[in-house]
């Protein structure tokens, strides 16, 4: 696989949200606005990238049986770093993402597929993969957040696009599921067009 492919596959073909359906909780939980989606996406990307790097650096020193616990500790450490930094410098975002920040651990354990990728490949590949997957994730969250914001409150990144209130459901739980459902249908269609001719 070319380096470019490793990097870009997370965007559409193996998009963690639209195709692999991983880390669905924050996808639905924080995407009430494009801003939140982007923030969460970038935080996740950071953790993913860093843990992929570290894991691929030390993989050969770790016995099989404790591989998973070690990875979890590494990922959790980076999450805590994000948590502390965000609390210090982006307190508002920290408040609106709430419980989903510590939950990045869980997402990254799945998302990073730290096991699947970092432990078998070179450091560079891991970096590309982590970055690609993370950005794909961030992309998906931002799109979903933007859509929900537009439909639900008539704005995008806080800027009004039409007057009036929008349909409230879209910023609430049902809207999250429904919009994501149709987005996935759309991405399936797109994927089919692009990759299966």
């Amino acid at each position: 696989m070319s380096k470019l492919k490793i990097f870009t596959k997370g965007f559409l073909k193996e998009n963690p949200v639209f195709v692999l359906l991983l880390g669905m909780c924050p996808v639905l939980g924080v995407t009430t606005s494009a801003e939140n989606g982007l923030g969460m996406g970038l935080a996740t990307t950071f953790v993913l990238l860093m843990s992929n790097i570290v894991v691929s650096l030390i993989k050969s020193f770790i016995p099989d049986k404790v591989r998973i616990p070690s990875y979890i500790v590494i990922i959790a450490s980076f999450v805590t770093i994000v948590e502390l930094t965000m609390q210090a410098f982006l307190p508002e975002l920290f408040d609106s993402l709430g419980i989903f920040i510590p939950l990045i651990v869980v997402n990254c354990v799945i998302l990073g597929r730290a096991e699947a990728f970092a432990s078998k490949n070179s450091v560079l590949d891991s970096i590309l993969d982590g970055l690609g997957m993370g950005l794909g994730f961030a992309l998906a969250l931002t799109i979903l957040g933007a859509l929900r914001e537009i439909l639900g409150s008539g704005a995008i990144f806080g800027i009004n696009v039409y007057s009036g209130d929008g349909a409230l459901v879209f910023v609430l739980a049902p809207g999250a599921f429904i919009v994501l459902g149709y987005l996935i249908a759309l991405s399936n269609k797109l994927n089919k067009k692009l990759y299966n001719k």
Binding site: A167, L168, I178
Partner: protein
């Protein structure tokens, strides 16, 4: 013999029922209630009914033809019925834009995404109603006052529903009897002289519709009667326990959308259980949830939510509640 013989497995005979016949029978059953709404709400009722029916039919046509690329199914009448019921479920002074959005939600999301008639899990008209209610709480809870606003549409004078007044009153620390004084008499409410969604106000007209559908065997008694009975019994118990806190059961039967829901929406074939026992449990569930929401929840009215929630249980009912099989109980053939 010139023509070829036709062959097929038995049976070779079929009665005259068809999907469209059933749907139009329900439409006919809705006419009395529609008449009453027209009387009380005038042109507003007419406008939203037309908008809802037309837009529902058009959406279904467009989706079947251009997205699913299948023959159009609008002639079966189910889209028109859904549109009609959406109109029945909203205030008659609603902006047509919202009505059209409701039709779109009902047809595109709640029906055609599942594959169209027969496949959906949730009642399309109710999905539309709840969608609108949650999205636009202000518009969806400003009800026109009957008779006075007959010749007005968007500019109708609005007022709360009886259930709304009750909930407000109790939340504000009043007693039931205190609230009741301000309401019309129960007879007036039964005939339809109260604020509310367009088609729900007249219990009397809805009961005529029920009778018609029972006679025509479009539906059986199980769902409507059990739902009403459950609400009556549970509300009755609450009322007996604390008449100052809980309104009497008759009041609850004739106000709000209970009748409309129990008779026309809970009975939707597609989204209700497939056998009698299942229907009874389903209806009891609707009754209980309705009473709970009306008395303890944030919303003054709960039948729409109750039906949707029970809709989600239907697949499990269908899976595990079975009709009584012939020859099932007798094991050793006595």
């Amino acid at each position: 013999m010139s023509k070829l013989l036709t062959v097929a497995l038995s049976p070779h005979e079929k009665n005259k029922d068809s999907v469209s016949r059933l749907m139009y029978d329900v439409v006919i059953a809705l006419i009395p209630a529609f008449g009453v709404s027209l009387f009380f709400y005038g042109i507003g009722a007419l406008i939203i009914t037309l908008t809802a029916v037309l837009s529902a039919v058009i959406f279904e046509y467009l989706i079947t033809r251009y997205m699913l690329k299948k023959p159009a199914t609008i002639m079966d009448g189910s889209a028109a019925l859904t549109g009609l019921l959406i109109a029945f479920n909203v205030p008659s002074n609603l902006n047509p834009g919202f009505v059209i959005l409701g039709s779109f939600v009902a047809i595109a999301i709640a029906k055609m995404s599942f594959g169209g008639l027969g496949n959906n899990i949730f009642n399309p008209a109710l999905v539309a109603r709840v969608f609108l209610l949650i999205s636009f709480p202000v518009q969806m809870t400003s009800w026109p006052v009957p008779i006075e606003s007959r010749m007005k549409y968007l500019d109708a004078i609005t007022g709360p529903t009886a259930l709304g007044q009750l909930k407000e009153g109790i939340m504000g620390g009043n007693t039931v009897s205190g609230v009741m004084e301000k309401l019309p008499s129960q007879m007036e409410m039964f005939l339809g002289q109260m604020s509310g969604s367009m088609g729900e106000v007249s219990g009397a007209a809805l009961l005529i519709g029920l009778l018609y559908m029972l006679i025509r065997r479009v539906i059986t008694w199980h769902i409507p009667i059990t739902t009403l009975a459950t609400v009556f019994v549970i509300q009755g118990i609450l009322w007996l326990v604390s008449p100052e806190r809980f309104a009497d059961p008759v009041f609850h039967l004739i106000t709000g959308g209970l009748m409309l829901g129990a008779i026309f929406m809970a009975t939707d074939y597609v989204t209700s259980p497939m056998n009698k026992m299942g229907m009874i449990y389903f209806a009891i569930g609707i009754g209980v949830i309705t009473v709970v929401i009306r008395n303890f929840g944030a919303y003054p009215e709960g039948i729409s939510f109750a039906i949707l929630i029970m809709n989600s249980v239907v697949p499990i009912f269908n899976r595990y509640i079975k009709p009584k099989r012939f020859g099932e109980l007798i094991k050793d053939g006595k």
